[in-house]
Amino acid sequence: MKKELLKFLLFSVLMLLVPLALHGSYLMNVLVFVGIHTMLAVALNLLLGYAGQISLGHAGFFGLGAYLSAILTTTFGFNPWLVMPLAAVVVGLIAFLVGFPILKLKGHYLAMATLGLGVIIYIIINETVDYTGGPSGLSGIPNLAVGTFVFNSDIRNYYLIWTAALAVILLAVNLTNSRVGRALRAIHDSEVAARVMGVNARLLKVQIFALSAIVSALAGSLYAHTMTFVSPASFGFNFSVELLTMVVIGGLGSIYGSFLGAALLTLLPEFLRSAQDFDIIIYGGVLMLMVMFMPGGLVRGVPELLKKMLGNRGGVGNA
């Protein structure tokens, strides 16, 4: 446990120091999104990596959080800080209620059901034009503020988002190292065995689903207030798949892996931008190679690769 805490502190210090190197660069803006994506990937990883339950509808929860915050603060003039927990609770409740029937399903059927859920949420957002502004989106969402201090620049948003992201990571690390975390992993390996050992598998699965949705909704609220604009296209099926890719590429069942996955999938397109029209091909190729050669994700694959390379150097180094 001490080791985990040390790791977390090290990671926090690292993330809080990054702006010193990149201050003023547009990458600060990209890193804000890395933070949001990290929250989402960690949330999905709790469900997929630990409890072994797939979800293709997480973009929906993300979108619900974003739109609840956007509509309540912009159209109805509520205080953003009040709306955020409210949105999280509402989305959590929805997830809790739908979770019972949906999480009875397994494998492909669960994937289908969560996919359906995501699509339904997307359609609702897209079609209730009077409230959501429909496909052309909702603009003029206020920035978050404490007194007269407004979170309206990249650097301020960076610290805002990363404070939240680090809190989510700490929560996830603690959770997975607790009795609940072990119960989740037991469900992952064998639900029957877990139930025999006295784990209330059905309830626990729904609870973790709801928690995952709550974190996603929180990320959504923060997204809405940093972007100050939301449109349904950001919360479609594609984004659910992207989140899934982040979790898998980063490493299933590893919290820091989720960060790596989120960082890679968000930053890689930026670095490939200079390759012009070929960026998509290179991007796809990189992802394919990673899945082929690092099936355990970045968090396990990279140390292995380093070991191999260092071993190689030791052998050929003197030649």
Partner: protein
């Protein structure tokens, strides 16, 4: 294991691609287009055109002796990406102005960024709310939906038709059109007797059309971009619907006629003049610009220049004029843009002012009809 060799190779390729092109203090202009993704039909001709025009300007000696450097990024039609890339253009590439984005959603997302950083933006998307209310740093070249709606309603009033059925696509383009159709109907004494939507990827609209057939509608107005409207045209023909069909300017390209085939005959739509440039009278002010654009585009890309590309053509030329009249600082470009009067472009004749950053009048649109698989102007 040749890892190091591979890593070295990749690194050198990236360095090679990244190496800057040396030129004497070029003026940097950024562009955000949805070159890939669902809005690629907008982004691709826009990028092609922008690059073509900039190349021609540079070949002719640039603007006031400076070459223009155009930096194009692909937003894939995603608002989040558009915001990131706008930041990149401003903070990394230090551009003096930005052209695009291609869709209304992306433009609305980018507006807070350019307003804060004080960089002029010339959007290539149509949504009315981009320039209403007027934002200090934001202009646009695409014709407002309001003008297209007005053009259709004008014709209906002439023919004394008052009962209208509207069928709009459930995306940004369609919902903006629907809003305008409903808002302007009363002004022209028109009642909307039927109002329904369809999904952008729907492949059968007989359900909606059957309902319309049973309604008292005298005219059907469909608001969408390819391929939906072509499906509606075909379905209407199959069902034997005799009610006249109007489309939006979203399908004003040859592609629509190709997709709808025989069913397109007799369909009317408001369109930018680029579609019928050769049919325009010689007295038309835009004729010269239009013919140049069409000829250049044909030569360069072996394809028909459409009005989407035209939005980018207008944006680049407006910027060029602004820089010619003033300096190349963002503030000066903005001020000069606002002073633009009677610029005869592809989308229409632009006159910007402090109260109007859209710059076009109803004359930007002509009403065209499909006759013998080609366009004809409705008098």
């Amino acid at each position: 294991m040749h890892f190091r060799a591979i890593v070295f190779f990749i690194a050198s390729v990236i360095l090679l691609i990244n190496s800057p092109v040396f030129a004497a203090a070029p003026i940097k202009i950024g562009a955000l287009f949805a070159v890939t993704g669902p809005a690629a039909f907008l982004g691709e001709p826009e990028r092609n055109t922008a690059q073509m025009v900039v190349e021609e300007i540079n070949k002719a000696g640039g603007v006031k002796g400076h070459k223009i450097e155009l930096i194009v990024y692909d937003t894939t039609g995603d608002a989040t990406k558009a915001v990131q890339l706008a930041n990149k253009l401003i903070k990394n590439d230090k551009v003096v102005a930005i052209i695009g984005p291609s869709t209304t959603g992306e433009t609305m997302a980018v507006i807070p960024v350019v307003e804060k950083e004080q960089i002029p933006l010339i959007s290539c998307s149509a949504g009315s709310k981009i320039t209403e209310p007027v934002k200090k740093w934001v202009f646009k070249t695409a014709q407002n939906d309001a003008l297209a709606v007005g053009r259709i309603f004008d014709q209906l009033r002439k023919q004394k038709l008052t009962k209208v059925a509207i069928l709009t696509v459930s995306d940004g383009f369609g919902s903006s059109g629907r809003e305008q159709l409903k808002a302007q109907a009363a002004k022209y004494g028109i009642t909307i007797v039927f109002d329904d939507t369809y999904g952008p990827r729907d492949t059968d609209m007989t359900a909606q059309l059957t309902k319309i057939r049973n309604s008292p509608a005298q005219v059907i107005i469909c608001w969408g971009t390819n391929p939906g409207p072509a499906v509606i045209a075909k379905n209407a023909r199959q069902l034997g619907v005799k009610t006249p069909l109007y489309m939006s300017h979203g399908v004003s390209s040859k592609k629509f006629i190709d997709l709808a085939g025989d069913s397109a005959e007799g369909i009317r739509l408001p369109s930018g003049k680029v579609l019928v440039a050769d049919l325009l009278p010689a007295s038309d002010n835009q004729r010269k610009s239009l013919l140049v654009f069409i000829k250049d585009y044909q030569r360069q890309f072996k394809a028909e220049g459409d009005h989407f590309g035209g939005h980018a053509w207008d944006a680049v030329m407006l910027l060029k004029n602004a820089i010619e009249h003033g300096g190349d600082s963002p503030a000066s470009i903005r001020d000069q843009l606002e002073k633009t009067t009677k610029f005869h472009g592809i989308g229409g004749t632009f006159t910007y002012s402090a109260h109007d950053h859209a710059g076009l009048g109803q004359d930007a649109f002509v009403l065209v009809e499909v006759r013998n698989k080609d366009w004809a102007i409705v008098k």
